[in-house]
């Protein structure tokens, strides 16, 4: 995994709202992680954990309070809004939003929604080229090209999310942040959209940051997963490791609450409560430590051995 190229490097990112004021909110509080080219990086957490803020900081919808965000080696945390670099950067990085009802302008035709990026970045020379590209994109996301002249209200939730995906793909990005892209959709439609996202990823060699609270879907789509809680990363590792051998008590608690579509497992379920006060115990500073290769846990220096023993015990079992 370390051989792979890092496409995004988040280094000590802090995103505070109303900094220095009495109502200061430390939405993201000193987090660091890398995203490798071609992978799907899942970011999970409860509401208020800072997962969406992290995504929005990476695509620079916010100006980070401190820390660096490197995209393809270039620090994008300081580039100015409306600058040429910002325009170039946004062409490489796109976003798919949660709510397919609120994220499409109801007064724009589908083809204009999809082509907006093409116009902004001057990627097409004339209307024919524009229409041809829109048609191609609609086909990629599994919509009828004849629907280009319709308005968003004429589409169902799943179809709208496909339009949102087509819009993100229009400028041929390398990296897409998907912020809860399926939470607003029905179960049978969620699987369609997830499969579509996976197909497109394979064909276009895309990298995803997939933000969600539905843990089973994140496990399914992600290569690696980071668990976030109160603005900090609690645990980071491969999807398999984090799900099957969680080490941090918060991850264990979160996983024990995921409802499973199996009555027998539900009857046997033991919920593990989480006591957040353990994060305050002791005097040593806490940060992410690598317990076993590729598997990081938020802990103090002293706790590393304890977690390492746990990891070994699980590996042997």
């Amino acid at each position: 995994m370390t051989e792979n190229k890092k496409i995004v490097q988040v280094q000590h990112l802090k995103q505070y709202f109303s900094p220095g004021k009495p109502n200061e909110v430390k939405a993201v509080d000193d987090i660091s992680f890398d995203i490798y080219e071609g992978e799907t990086f899942g970011l999970v957490g409860e509401s208020g954990s800072g997962k969406s803020t992290t995504g929005r900081s990476i695509i620079r919808l916010y100006n980070p309070t401190s820390g660096k965000i490197l995209f393809n080696g270039q620090d994008i945390s300081k580039i100015k809004n409306h600058s040429k670099q910002m325009l170039e950067f946004r062409r490489e990085m796109q976003m798919i939003f949660q709510d397919p009802y609120a994220s499409l302008d109801p007064r724009m035709k589908v083809k204009d929604i999809i082509a907006e990026g093409l116009d902004v970045h001057r990627l097409v020379q004339n209307d024919q080229e524009r229409d041809a590209r829109v048609e191609e994109l609609l086909q990629i996301v599994g919509l009828n090209p004849d629907h280009a002249t319709r308005y968003p209200h004429e589409f169902s939730g799943g179809q709208r999310q496909r339009i949102g995906i087509a819009r993100a793909l229009a400028v041929d990005p390398k990296f897409i942040i998907a912020d809860e892209p399926i939470s607003a959709l029905d179960v049978s439609i969620q699987a369609q959209v997830v499969n579509l996202m996976k197909d497109i990823q394979r064909k276009n060699n895309l990298t995803y940051l997939f933000i969600a609270h539905d843990l089973s879907m994140v496990k399914y789509i992600s290569d690696r997963i980071a668990v976030m809680h109160q603005g900090r990363l609690m645990e980071l590792g491969t999807a398999e490791e984090v799900y099957n051998h969680p080490l941090h008590p918060y991850t264990k608690s979160l996983l024990s609450a995921v409802p499973l579509p199996d009555p027998e497992l539900e009857r046997k379920r033991q919920r593990i409560p989480y006591d957040a006060s353990i994060e305050q115990s002791g005097t040593q500073p806490r940060t992410l430590h690598e317990i076993v290769p590729g598997h990081f846990v938020y802990s103090t220096e002293d706790e590393i051995d304890h977690y390492r023993e746990q990891a070994l015990a699980v590996a042997e079992a």
Binding site: E46, S47, S156, G157, G158, Q159, D186, V187, S188, I189, Q190, A191, Q192, V194, N195, K198, H213, L215, S216, M217, K219, Y220, Y243, S253, L254, S256, A257, V258, P259, L260, P261, D262, P263, E264, L265, E266, R269, R271, Y274
Partner: protein, 358 residues
């Protein structure tokens, strides 16, 4: 078996819209037994919310009950006057809504909101009502309830607000509690707490619960029986084990296999192709036929009746007709069924349905 407290029979509901008549509920029948939890599962637009709103007498003005009966302890609720319904609502039958942010009055203290059903139904004095409200808030797990009676909804977290909504619903000890996606807006950890709370309250108060959701994980955890709805009809119903381990309808198969389980590999997720039908002009045959890989000619011609799978389990699919060809359910479904049989044989499953399963 315990006696039936609610019986819905052949319910048909239409909505008059500018586009035409939407046939939202197309002949739905089910019953609810004392003390049980019945989960109604379905996608948006399948009619699950309309069904429960009709029980509460809360249908929109453009709704029209074409036919059917909703019998509560033998009385047909559809024939009751608005005043009689007022006596039932919040008293015999109460409802918990999906969004705890919008279902509380932001300008009223929570103590008053919880006491309101008691005062409306004129049972006790204001003083006693407030005392009762406090007890119920303690019961649903609001810490320091006495001191928080005078707080407003915005001073509580989402999970606590949903606890308050539940307190309002149970303050009169209703016989039936209708919960319409009560945990959808909540985080998984909070969701788990609310489900535990509802189970606990049900044990204490012997309430019957109708639980509406599209989340099959939640259903597996809370339901005794499950009804699956599609396009305004119930297409399969049975005990929770019937539905999750021995499903018969291809739509139920599709729903169950499109959920990723935690042990799933990285293969492709099974998905149901297409979208639900337009109920302005529902299909003549089985409404699921266009999305059904197992559809036969008859599916486009006639609606399937319910076929009996076991005394507790019924499914409306032509595949169960004696003349239908035998089909192989998807691999994920076969795996569920085999795993269940294995556990049954090993005696690791307590048969909750009391031997009524095959």
């Amino acid at each position: 078996m315990a006696h039936e407290i609610l019986e819905v029979k052949n319910l048909k509901i239409n909505f008059q819209t500018y586009a035409g008549t939407v046939q939202a509920i197309r002949d739905v029948s089910f019953n609810l037994k004392k003390g049980e939890t019945l989960a109604i599962v379905g996608e948006s637009g399948s009619g699950k919310s309309v069904t429960t709103r009709s029980i509460m007498g809360l249908l929109a003005p453009n709704a029209q009950v074409v036919s059917g009966e909703i019998k509560y302890k033998g009385q047909d609720l559809l024939k009751e006057s608005e005043k009689q319904m007022d006596d039932h609502r919040g008293n015999d039958i109460a409802m918990i809504f999906q969004d705890p942010m919008t279902s509380l009055d932001p300008t009223m203290t929570i103590g008053k909101q919880v006491a309101e059903p008691l005062l409306v139904h004129g049972k006790i004095s204001k003083e006693k009502a407030l005392k009762r409200a406090q007890e119920v808030l303690e019961l649903v797990g609001i810490p320091n309830a006495a001191a928080r009676m005078k707080d407003y909804p915005h001073q509580f977290s989402g999970g606590q607000r949903q606890r308050i909504v539940i307190a309002i619903a149970i303050v009169n000890y209703p016989e039936i509690l209708i919960a319409d996606e009560p945990t959808t807006a909540l985080d998984v950890t909070v969701q788990a707490q609310i489900i535990d709370l509802m189970r606990e309250l049900q044990e204490k108060l012997e309430t019957s619960i109708i639980f509406i959701t599209h989340d099959l994980g939640v259903v597996a955890g809370i339901a005794d029986r499950v009804a699956v709805m599609y396009a305004g009809k119930i297409i399969e119903y049975g005990t929770v084990d019937d539905i999750f381990y021995k499903p018969q309808h291809p739509y139920t198969w599709g729903l169950l296999s499109s959920m990723p389980t935690l042990d799933i590999g990285s293969g492709k997720l099974a998905s149901i192709p297409g979208t639900p039908p337009d109920l302005l002009d529902p299909p003549k045959g089985d409404a699921f036929a266009p999305r059904n890989p197992y559809a036969m000619k008859i599916d486009t011609e006639a609606q399937p009746p319910f076929f009996k799978v076991s005394p507790t389990h019924y499914a409306a699919t032509w595949l169960l007709h004696p003349d239908a060809p035998k089909v192989e359910p998807p691999a994920a479904i076969k795996k569920r069924s085999e795993e269940y049989d294995r556990l049954m044989k090993a005696g690791q499953i307590e048969n909750l349905a009391g031997g009524s399963l095959n």
